[in-house]
């Protein structure tokens, strides 16, 4: 708390007293990292990893993004960083085309650009730290759902908003996987929860009573998973209606232990942040160049590079047996 207050006071003092800003030249490299949405737990855990990497490397890390997955705001923040003249910009792009114009402008000024989590156009960045393709996520979730349901029965999905790009993409591949491999499973409804946990809970409650045969709820946004779990718990349908989704251990630990939520899928987001910052540092120091086939990132060891994609590896599934090993 104190940290926040002092941060706020500092900004206020500088603004109103109009002190010449404290941007004396520093030798420290500066890396800027932009999530799709700043409040999202997924990206908060990315930041933990990124902070650790920046500390190890002795870099200054900026971490800013829209509060609500807004493509237009991402561009504005990139502009700000160009203004500041950071050394590397790393971005999880909300809108591929939209952000690329701004990123190219940064490149023109000699700023290195890499993307993580969601790619921009290839000519607007040098590397993409690829944690999993949308197909990978969708198939992973769908396979896990099928495993829990015995590949048959009804299930429903809770998404963030109707219009969010990544959600639409995942839904598309979930549909595809469903049609290809699990003909006996039926997707009965997709309901948005506006990234609100409480709304997810109400939606899940209604979904269960409207579809008595429902065997599984799948939440593809992180606030949705605890919301759905709370609904199942309150309905007394623990075990009868399974809950899976994309989320963080810290937000779901309680429900996983209670047996309400079966599994939470996630890339090791902390590793994603860590790897991204190491890659950014290497690019900035010209140690990582196009054509490389592998890359060593601090304590995490060596990663494979395919083309210009640095591969993080498979998504990870948290369940009762391993969730306590992770504290983010």
């Amino acid at each position: 708390m104190n940290h926040h207050v002092s941060r706020f006071l500092l900004s206020a003092t500088l603004l109103f007293a109009g002190l010449p800003a404290v941007f004396a030249a520093e030798a420290k490299l500066m890396i800027a990292m932009m999530p799709k949405s700043k409040g999202n737990a997924y990206f908060i855990s990315c930041k933990h990893g990124a902070d650790r990497a920046a500390k190890e490397l002795g870099f200054e890390l900026l971490f800013d993004g829209p509060t609500d997955s807004n493509a237009a705001k991402q561009n504005e923040i990139v502009e700000n960083w160009i203004t500041l003249g950071v050394d590397v910009i790393t971005v999880a792009a909300e809108n591929k085309q939209g952000i690329s114009t701004a990123l190219r402008k940064a490149q023109k000024q000699g700023i290195k650009v890499i993307t993580f989590d969601a790619d921009a156009l290839p000519d607007a960045r040098s590397f993409f730290v690829n944690q999993a393709t949308p197909q990978g996520i969708a198939s992973g979730l769908m396979d896990e759902a099928a495993r829990l349901c015995g590949a048959e029965g009804e299930f429903a999905i809770i998404s963030a908003t109707l219009t969010a790009g990544n959600q639409r993409e995942w839904l598309k591949y979930i549909d595809q996987r469903l049609a290809e491999k699990y003909p006996k499973m039926k997707l009965v409804a997709v309901r948005p929860c506006d990234d609100l946990k409480d709304k997810a809970q109400s939606e899940a409650t209604a979904l269960m009573s409207a579809n008595p045969g429902l065997k599984l709820l799948m939440a593809i946004c992180s606030p949705g998973v605890p919301g759905a779990a709370e609904a199942v718990k309150q309905a007394g349908k623990t075990g009868q209606v399974k809950v899976i989704g994309l989320g963080l251990p810290s937000e779901n630990r309680r429900y996983v232990h209670e047996g309400v939520t079966d599994s939470v899928m996630l890339w090791k987001t902390e590793d994603l942040g860590y790897l991204t910052i190491y890659a950014a540092a290497a690019v900035a120091r010209d140690e990582l160049k196009p054509g490389a086939t592998s890359f060593k990132a601090g304590s995490l060891g060596t990663f494979e590079i395919k083309g210009d994609n640095i591969l993080l590896g498979q998504p990870f599934i948290f369940n009762r047996s391993n969730i306590d090993q992770f504290d983010f």
């Binding site: 109009g18 800003a21 941007f23 900026l62 509060t67 237009a72 504005e76 923040i77 700000n80 500041l84």
Partner: protein, 345 residues
């Protein structure tokens, strides 16, 4: 107010709210110019003082600026329109659909989009005037309805992209030195200014805002005038939708979410009374500029960027600025009120 009329015209000019706002804007601009422009760590001249940045500010403020222009006559008549942001979204979708699925040419699709905007405004106008319903409630309903229709048309899923470069020119390129949409914005600003300040219609808006009953007794066609104001707002929202689509290169059902609040903030900051009857287009333009410069200027200060909270701080300060402006604007009225009360005793 009465006292001011006896003073020489230059003093009256200095005491006008718009002049104060202009002064605030200039000071704001100079501060940001001074502290927000720098040669950055990479040796480039960057920040608020660069021409590029100024054009960016202009580009980013055109849509909200247009909505604020649309809302000025509405608020002058003591009305309000909460649906302009949603209508922007609906129009963007309609435009995308007509062009992409309907196979219409860009100009035809754009023209039809303006018609749809007029119809959306017409729906508001019809409910407000024919049934004498409060604008706040009607437009709260259409705020949901228009956004809902945009989502229903696209099923939330479709995003229209790949517009031809001739159309994207409208939102991304410069023409005669200024961003293309800035020309359109200026044109609309002049038109709305003439309408509000140089025609009898404009005067009637203010009369209606002061007292609709009085206006009716004076023989003004109140219903018709009020209708025009909302239909105009719809058309301008549609125009803003075209510019928005061209700037981002995509039409999506969530376009313009929350813009109505920014636009209302700008209008009120510009000195237009939310109770109607008092206000000016110049004030609105200054209000839009003050907010845009504050938001973008803060984002150019290295200190603020390093706090990773440019958006939050600008939100906080915009709110504070609005409260200060309101309080300042209300002081004379409040003093008059106290004086009147003392005399009444």
């Amino acid at each position: 107010m009465i006292a001011a009329n006896n003073q020489p015209s230059w003093r009256r000019f200095l005491l006008r709210y718009e002049t104060l706002l202009l002064a605030v804007l200039v000071i704001e601009w100079l501060i940001f110019y001074h502290y927000g422009t720098s040669t950055n760590r990479r040796g480039h001249l960057v920040g608020f003082g660069t021409l590029d940045r100024q054009f960016d500010i202009l580009r980013h403020s055109c849509e909200i600026g247009l909505l604020a222009l649309a809302l000025t006559p509405v608020i002058l008549t003591a009305g309000i329109d909460l649906s302009v942001g949603s209508l922007l979204g609906l129009c963007a979708i309609v435009f995308g659909k007509l062009w992409h699925d309907g196979g219409l040419s860009i100009p035809l699709a754009a023209a039809l989009t303006l018609v749809v905007g007029a119809m959306g405004g017409g729906l508001n106008a019809g409910l407000i005037t024919a049934l004498r319903l409060p604008p706040l409630i009607v437009t709260l309903g259409t705020y949901s309805l228009f956004r809902g229709l945009a989502e229903a048309i696209t099923q939330g899923a479709v995003t229209y992209t790949d517009f031809p470069s001739g159309f994207l020119f409208l939102g991304q390129e410069r023409w005669n030195g200024l961003p293309m949409q800035a020309w359109l914005f200026l044109l609309m600003a002049v038109l709305v200014w003439i309408l509000v300040h140089r025609t009898t219609w404009g005067r009637s808006f203010r009369v209606i805002g002061f007292s609709p009953e009085g206006a009716r007794y004076a023989g003004l066609p109140v219903e018709r005038r009020v209708s025009i104001v909302y239909i105009l707002a719809g058309i301008i929202a549609a125009l803003a939708a075209l510019i928005y689509t061209a700037r981002l290169g995509q039409a999506k059902a969530d376009a313009g979410t929350g813009y109505e609040l920014f636009a209302i903030t700008a209008v009120v900051l510009g000195g237009t009374s939310i109770f109607g009857g008092r206000g000016s287009v110049t004030g609105t333009l200054l209000g839009v500029a003050a907010i845009a410069v504050l938001k973008n200027g803060l984002a150019c200060l290295p200190v603020v960027i390093r706090l990773n909270a440019a958006e939050e701080i600008s939100g906080l300060l915009t709110g504070a600025l609005l409260l200060v402006a309101l309080t300042g604007n209300a002081v004379p009225t409040f003093l008059n009120y106290l004086r009147a009360r003392r005399q009444a005793r």
